[in-house]
Amino acid sequence: MTTATPAGAAVDEAPVRKLYRSAEGRWLGGVAQGLAGHLALPVSWVRLVFFALMPANGLGVLLYGVFWFVVPLGAPQQAPAAPREAGAPARRRLPHRPDKGQVIAFLVLAATLGVLAGNVQFPISDGYLWPLLMLGVGAAVVWRQADNSRRAHWAAATRRSRWLPLLRSAAGALLVSLGVGTFVLGRSASESTENLALVFQASVAVLVGIALLAGPYLVRMVQDLSEERTMRIRAQERAEVAAHIHDSVLHTLTLIQRNADRPREVARLARAQERDLRAWLYRSAEGPEKADEKEEQETFAAAVRATVAEVEDHHGVPIEVVCVGDCPVDEGLAAQLQAAREAMVNAAKYGGEGGPVRVFAEVEGRTVFVSVRDRGPGFDPESVPADRMGVRESIIGRMRRNGGSARVRSAPGEGTEVELTMERAE
């Protein structure tokens, strides 16, 4: 199994380590479990840190709450999920009957909140404290419910009561509304003047209540959506690869099977396909901007490669091309390309038996150089009769007319090399 593309390899090698809260064996929200898993620390350490931070003006609670809010509940992991389903049915009832740990966690939370309430000087009177507390508890219930419904969503086989989640949601909603209501009523009872401010405060309170109720669901939904989007992009990429392989590779393989008795044709098809697949793989790896660039203006290297591909396909002779440097194609270079094409055709026709034809194109500064070389039988350039126009006109003459130069080097048995040199316009 070779790695297909460099980009793919990079993705496979370094998956982004995401922090998830754990649903397995959690006490409250699974934050400590998730953090412990992420940092590769024992859970008890993380919990101790949170507990230790609690008396510090409730920093632990605050942190825990932030994590609970921001970090999504653990993605279903295949490995731990399976044994749980099969082997330990007793643990399934964990949400119903809280174990000692959960009770302790709740107690510590309550105690801390109590200490907080006792120590911190709230600049608000009791008339606000109780509604606020009610709000908080209601919101907490709703938020936990959001977690559970999410879990039920991916752990499809939940045989828990259908009423419990509804009941919990309703209880949460009721508490929040009650809190908001008391808040507004409490204020209106104490200050019956300034109607405008009252209406304003009431609407803010209602909005906060709605946000608290809908918040967790919204957050989870956004998280789900982004997850789904990555999945969809991945699926799309896979479909694109599959389609490309289907369209071109399978098609070529079929043609090869049909032409199995004609080795030249098979080689031609295979080479064309190889080049095509390579170009496709590297272009998709190099990103979309590269493709745009190619569309808007054809560069010299690309043009040389295209010419090579064309001649290779047409004559069924392998041509190996090396391009160094690049520049835009101007008038002189277009003529040079045509001359090079002619040289390639000649090499393919007369010199293709001795191995691949080699094309080398180099842009260095203002000089553009192309060499076409074959390892065929070669010939003596002096002995070519004066009436043979192929090389003389379409290669040497064309280069000269456009301000370049061409040189044909060949000797019997040593192959042929055509060197084309042209100065760029700018």
Binding site: T2, P6, Y282, R358, E362, E364
Partner: protein
Amino acid sequence: MNPTPEERRARVVLVDDHRMFRAGVRAEIGRTEESGIEVVGEAGDADQAVTVIKAARPDVVLLDVHLPGGGGVEVLRRCADLIAAAQDPVRFLALSVSDAAEDVIGVIRGGARGYVTKTITGTDLVDAIFRVAEGDAVFSPRLAGFVLDAFASSEAAPVDEDLDRLTQREREVLRLIARGYAYKEVGKELFISVKTVESHVSAVLRKLQLSNRHELTRWATARRLV
């Protein structure tokens, strides 16, 4: 092509994850057994490769670039002590279906002494193995092209250290290799001996591994290779 009468021997380990390909290479270079290549081990992934190489201590490792378990670069990294060994160092010749720049430069930087693609013929491969075994570098025309490309812009930017720059002669040698000349033909063209050609090529390889500051970094960044 280069019929040296002297007794040439090389112990080779094949590393490739396709067993069919290993069998093919074994058959191909086994056909020229009189020239003395002995396949002393095979491996299909990076871990196996390191074990086999450390056990067999071959002269040359034919190394596929794409392997399960970290690829050829990982094998090179874990065999760094063998490459650097003062006595009988193990030489690596990368053999890959890919001729993409990142693969080529990656294994050359990792310490491979040459890079050939899988389209190479059996006789050329045997030749390359011996060349690498004797401590020389093997450049395919394509690789020569990459190197030229990498150092192409060095004229424009003033480079303070000569170390990173190719000399005019090295550039000429590379250019001819990129044009498909064999080392012998390069020598004839430039009126130098084959040994000199080889030392130029080895110098290029050394610069390619060392030049991690200027052109190559810029070149690699431009192509998003690093």
